[in-house]
């Protein structure tokens, strides 16, 4: 995944470098909240760990092997901003000393491996964590999904960069499909190793896992007379996981959705999808009646009303979001009403 020199043209390399430098500047500020006064030594240590872990190769297919990228792993273990710093440092040392990844492509590599995998891995893990029961071991499946999504996401961003500043014209659909296909396999390996690594750490030292902060169950103390009291929750140095606004996650997700719908859909293959194709070849496509909204301007993603496909996509995403917000709002109100009954004291 380390992009060498000459892969992308100079303007693209400079642009990705600027984006990476800006993100690192933000990460330098934010990482202090994650690691307090120990920032430099512990981040350096985590960098050495990620560096070592990237040497772990695992088989993906016939004769091919991938190695761990470690973006999602680092984000879950030490927090996203520290993870951005850690991976940037690892990539810089690899480019300078190991000739792994080009020097002019350093910004690109930091963007792909150091920022995209970390942020996607972290946001997806947090989103999954929201759906799981509140306990430290929930971090394990969350990190699995985060790692699984982060690798194809980096591959997709790479394909986009290649389309903008690549050396040659390649069929977009084919390149995207090949890259996503292979990197989903690699992502599966990454997910297994990430989840098992996080699981091993959670089992021994849950306090070292950043994503598991605030997920510890309350300490229940048992008196000599058999009475039980709940110890007050320990105060975490970072902001507690609960009560944190879900909006950053939601907004980032919306951004990605709008990007896919509004921009990427222009590149989407205009061939019929699997079902349509089979329907056409088997001769039952004509039997399908146009749906009741078939004359609507947005039908068939805008083809009927002459609306550009990107605009149709944006409208579609917007509608989906409104529906989703309404649905989750309703579920949330029901949930809080159910919880408003006072919990029974635990019998230990």
């Amino acid at each position: 995944m380390h992009v060498p020199d000459g892969f992308l043209d100079v303007p693209t390399s400079i642009a990705t470098g600027v984006v990476s430098a800006a993100t690192i500047a933000v990460a330098l500020k934010k990482s202090r909240q994650e690691l307090d006064e120990k920032t430099a030594p512990m981040a350096g240590l985590t960098a050495a760990f990620v560096f070592a872990v990237q040497m772990l190769n695992f088989p993906v297919g016939v004769g091919t092997s991938g190695h761990l990228m470690g973006g999602a792993l680092a984000a879950v273990l030490v927090g996203p901003w520290t993870a951005v710093l850690v991976l940037s440092v690892v990539l810089t040392v690899q480019a300078l000393v190991f000739a792994d990844g080009g020097l002019t492509a350093l910004g690109t590599n930091i963007l792909l491996i150091g920022i995209v995998t970390v942020l996607v891995g972290w946001l997806v893990s947090k989103a999954v964590l929201r759906l799981m029961p509140t306990k430290p071991t929930s971090v394990v499946p969350a990190s699995f999904v985060g790692a699984l999504v982060s690798v194809p996401a980096a591959a997709a961003v790479f394909v986009l960069l290649y389309m903008v500043g690549g050396a040659t014209e390649l069929p977009f659909g084919a390149l995207m499909a090949t890259m996503l296909g292979w990197h989903t396999l690699i992502g599966l390996g990454e997910a297994v190793i990430t989840a098992a690594t996080v699981g091993a750490v959670v089992a021994v030292r849950p306090d070292l896992v950043y994503a598991a902060r605030g997920l510890q169950p309350a300490l229940v103390l048992k008196g000599a007379d058999g009475s039980t009291i709940c110890a007050p929750e320990p105060i975490e140095p970072g902001a507690p996981v609960h009560g944190r606004s879900p909006w950053p996650v939601v907004i980032a997700g919306l951004g990605v959705a709008f990007l896919f719908a509004g921009v990427l859909s222009f590149f989407a293959s205009s061939n019929p999808d699997g079902l349509e194709y089979v329907a056409g070849s088997e001769g039952f496509l004509e039997r399908a009646r146009d749906s009741a909204v078939g004359e609507f301007v947005l039908a068939d993603y805008g083809e009927v009303g002459g609306v550009p496909v990107g605009v149709a996509g944006l409208v579609g995403v917007g509608l989906t979001i409104l529906l989703g917000l309404a649905l989750f709002g309703w579920i949330g109100r029901r949930g809080s009403r159910a919880q408003s009954t006072p919990p029974q004291p635990a019998q230990v």
Partner: protein, 254 residues
């Protein structure tokens, strides 16, 4: 990246290239690679000149060709991609050795292969003639944010410790009959990574406490500062300036 020893990449020596201050070398390397990347890919002869320039630097630094070739294996995945490009790219096709390939793809494959290889060799030369510690001081002199330089320096210090720990765990695994090629190996590899994180983190905490006890207040003291005179800058500029002249000629002729 088969072995994680940073110091194995460095070849001790006392040549003019070794003596140049690290930040001067670093700037020379980056500008050389930038010039190479900006060269039009149709100017085939220019890349020959660049290769000759690098060979001259290697000769002055007394870095043997075998040493460079062994370190070039990191490039292999992208060589595979470059070789595949002529077969999957679009556009007008041409015949090479009786095989139909895309012209644009052929050029792009060549482009990646030539520029990537030159960049890799240039970085190997820098690493072979510059101590990792000097490289860190160079970053500091080039105004890289101090926190980043410190993280890097801690990483370089811990890298040997961590990889040494990992090698011991690997030997222990293998002596128990572990086969890394099997699919079931994933679980073992992953729990090793978990154990490695806990061991390294706890070790880091102990080292951090020891550092605090010795008066560490968030900044490492700088002991020596390498000064770069005009002569050093002039000597280091030979490589990128020669490359720039070649690139200009290439731009004018194509």
């Amino acid at each position: 990246m088969a072995d994680g020893h940073l110091h194995r990449l460095y070849r001790h020596g006392d040549t003019p290239v070794h003596r140049l201050p690290a930040h001067v070398k670093l700037l020379a390397l980056v500008s050389f690679v930038l010039v190479v990347v900006a060269t039009p890919r149709e100017a085939f002869w220019a890349f020959g000149v660049y290769a000759a320039l690098l060979a001259a630097v290697a000769a002055v630094a007394r870095v043997p060709a075998r040493f460079i070739l062994r370190r070039m294996v990191v490039e292999i995945p992208f060589v595979v991609f470059a070789v595949l490009l002529p077969f999957i790219a679009l556009g007008p096709t041409t015949q090479v050795l009786g095989v139909t390939v895309s012209q644009a793809g052929l050029l792009a494959g060549w482009n990646i292969l030539a520029k990537g290889t030159l960049g890799v060799v240039a970085s190997i030369l820098l690493a072979a003639t510059t101590d990792a510690r000097e490289l860190l001081l160079a970053l500091q002199r080039l105004r890289v944010p101090p926190v980043l330089v410190e993280i890097t320096s801690f990483m370089v210090r811990y890298a040997d410790v961590t990889t040494g720990e990992m090698r011991r765990m690997k030997i222990a695994r293998e002596s128990r009959g572990f086969d890394p090629r099997s699919r079931r190996a994933l679980a073992v590899v992953a729990s090793s990574a978990g154990a490695l994180f806990i061991r390294s983190y706890e070790r880091g905490e102990r080292v951090h406490l020891a550092m605090l006890a010795r008066g560490y207040a968030g900044r490492l003291p700088v002991v020596e500062v390498q000064q770069a005179g005009a002569a050093a800058w002039a000597r280091a500029a030979v490589l990128p300036v020669a490359a720039l002249l070649t690139a200009t000629a290439a731009w004018l002729t194509t």
